[in-house]
């Protein structure tokens, strides 16, 4: 008998192809939309988190700030010097590397090609601090760093724009009016979290940069890499104390420099992406609701026709339970088919879109199951309960239903 009822249910579904298809479509849209939204949201969050982690979690950046002059006037504080970086490295414990950094945007020229890029003056510690490797060629030698000879390590964007497919090693490019030999090419880093092309730069020894390019002895930023992340707070305090002393700041004056912890930045960006994920979740919930209403509409619209059908079935001898079982099977079949198609579509859709917008594909089982369960529940509830109401009528009232 139960086999017969299942058979009846399937027969009924085949017979009403349009109604079945529309119901399935409603569920498919609901499930797929939620899965795509949440998967892309999770992917974005993951990518941002990974990028921030790639900046190095045990890093500090020291930058000059502002002077507070009497009368509330603010002026830019003086830059650091190489000696500041050297003193930090010498006097503060727990440090792995200190990289002084100065930079300027310049036009670079090779043959007929030219390219405006950011020229960074630093030393080999820059590669340590940024966790960046020289992929071909070499880093600076001790004597190049000390003498400030103009040699450069270039990012892949610079290489691509000046050299195309040619080998850039040992070639001489012009930096403004100066000539500079290329000794290495960095590995590709791609876009930063904030959309900058990180490979669009080149590095020269900082002494050469100061003397021949900048024409001063300024250091704009100092990168400090700690030996481990739990030393960060202590190093930060030590650096602040040291710099106050070196910059002759009296006890009642505020700092005219910042010591930034990468973790602070991480926290800020993470909270932003969390907001983003919450927003996507809300959008997903709305699409699930819309899908649910779609299912409900189709189910309720067909109630009139189905109520008469139920009347006929009751008149020729169906029990209330026969009718209910049939409708339940129908609703469950529609909801499962729709749910499975929706999951397939949602996952394949996200897998397809993720690489297009450069984010990793993150499979989220919970959301998949929630979307499926919700749509299935809507399908079953709105398929089953109107049928139950009809099956409880006197057969003659069901037959006469208009």
């Amino acid at each position: 008998m139960f086999g017969n009822i299942i058979q009846l249910a399937f027969r009924e579904l085949r017979r009403n192809v349009l109604r079945s298809a529309l119901t399935i479509l409603g569920i498919v849209i609901g499930v797929a939309a939620v899965i795509i939204m949440v998967t892309l949201g999770r992917g974005t969050t993951k990518q941002v988190t990974e990028e921030i982690a790639s900046l190095g979690s045990n890093q500090l950046q020291v930058r000059p700030g502002e002077h507070f002059r009497p009368g509330g006037v603010r002026t830019a504080a003086e830059q650091f010097e190489l000696a500041d970086a050297e003193t930090i490295e010498r006097e503060i414990g727990g440090i792995r590397a200190v990289a002084p950094i100065a930079s300027k945007t310049l036009l670079t020229v090779y043959g007929n090609a030219n390219w405006r890029t950011s020229v960074i003056g630093s030393d080999n510690n820059f590669f340590v601090a940024r966790e960046w490797e020289v992929e071909t060629g070499r880093e600076f030698t001790e004597s190049e760093v000390r003498s400030g000879k103009l040699v450069c390590v270039i990012g892949v964007t610079v290489r691509d724009n000046l050299f195309g497919t040619q080998n850039p090693l040992s070639a001489s490019i012009r930096l403004g009016k100066l000539s500079c030999e290329i000794i290495g090419v960095l590995s590709a880093k791609g876009q930063s979290t904030f959309g900058q092309d990180q490979d669009d730069m080149l590095v020269v020894p900082i002494r050469g940069f100061q003397r021949r390019i900048a024409g001063n002895r300024d250091v704009n930023t100092i990168y400090i890499t700690a030996q481990s992340s739990d030393l960060i707070d202590k190093i930060k305090q030590d650096v602040e104390a040291l710099m106050r002393q070196r910059r002759h700041i009296s006890a009642n004056e505020e700092d005219n420099f910042y010591v930034r912890d990468i973790r602070e930045i991480t926290e800020r960006v993470t909270s932003t992406t969390e907001t983003l994920t919450a927003l996507l979740g809300a959008v997903a919930a709305v699409s699930l609701l819309v899908g649910g209403i779609g299912i409900m509409n189709i189910m309720l619209v067909s109630v009139t026709e189905r109520t008469r059908e139920i009347g006929i079935r009751l008149a020729i001898g169906a029990l209330e339970s026969d009718v209910l079982r049939q409708f339940l099977v129908e609703a469950v079949v529609l909801a499962s088919v729709g749910g499975i198609i929706g999951i397939a579509l949602g996952l394949s859709g996200s897998a397809l879109v993720s690489p297009m917008i450069n984010i990793p594909f993150v499979f989220d089982l919970t959301i998949t199951l929630i979307a499926f369960a919700f749509s299935a529940a809507v399908g079953v509830i709105f398929g089953y309960f109107p049928a139950r109401k009809a099956a409880r009528l006197n057969p003659i009232d069901a037959l006469r239903h208009e």
Binding site: Q7, R308, L314, A315, G317, A318, P395, I396
Partner: protein, 240 residues
């Protein structure tokens, strides 16, 4: 539920009333009627619209329940049956045909006829055989795979008759079976009903307002304003 054959009438209504609504708006569709139908009878129920004749046949068919009074089907007091027991009574002993045919749309004639057998739990092979035989008996073997939309009104009503008799019921209830048909088709339908009544001893209770159609019955019951006006044997029964 086993219903024994015996001396008592097949259908016996005593003092049955049916009230729709309540208070001031109450409509008394039946005002305490009594009616007996013996096995093998062919009864026509006539009357103007609103006279209670359809309500009466729906109560006999257990599609509706009386507000008061007793209804006995053979030796069973239907008033004491549960919903499911009434459904089983319909399933096993009663066949219906309606003015509007009430076939399942987009469903072939054969599948429509099979439907009551499915609920009876008849295995597929036997089901097909019985359904084909029933369609043959109403002259529609050629139309088994057609859906109601592809059949004429007369053909649809004949499918409905096949569906009603395929379970070999004791009682066939027909609610204005020719109401939507022209006279040629009406005659066809009436010949079928008369034939089943005469050849198989099928008890038929039929509501109609057409005297030509009522003429096929042995007995005519006239309803008026919720009561039975007259109950006479038909002197000029049409014999097929």
């Amino acid at each position: 539920m086993i219903i024994r054959s015996g001396e008592e009438p097949l259908v016996e209504l005593s003092n049955v009333t049916k009230v729709y609504g309540s208070g001031q708006a109450a409509v008394h569709a039946l005002r305490g009627i009594g009616l007996r139908v013996q096995e093998g009878e062919f009864v026509a129920v006539m009357g103007s619209s609103g006279s209670g004749k359809s309500t009466c046949i729906n109560i006999i068919g257990c599609l509706d329940v009386p507000s008061a009074g007793t209804y006995r089907f053979r030796d069973v007091d239907v008033g004491e049956l549960s919903r499911d027991q009434r459904a089983l009574l319909r399933r096993n002993y009663i066949g219906f045909i309606f003015q509007t045919y009430n076939l399942l749309a987009r469903t072939t004639a054969l599948e429509n006829v099979e439907l009551p057998l499915i609920y009876r739990g008849v295995p597929p092979k036997e089901r097909h055989r019985l359904a084909r035989r029933a369609l043959e008996s109403v002259g529609l073997s050629q139309w088994a795979t057609h859906t109601p939309g592809e059949l004429s009104g007369g053909q649809q009503q004949r499918v409905a008759i096949a569906r009603a008799i395929v379970t070999e019921p004791l009682l066939l209830l027909a609610d204005e079976p020719t109401g939507n048909l022209d006279s040629t088709n009406s005659q066809e339908i009436m010949k079928l009903l008369s034939g089943f009544n005469r050849d198989q001893g099928l008890t038929v209770v039929m509501v109609t307002h057409e005297p030509d159609v009522a003429a096929y019955a042995q007995r005519t019951v006239h309803f008026h304003d919720g009561g039975i006006d007259s109950d006479t044997l038909n002197q000029n029964q049409v014999i097929v």
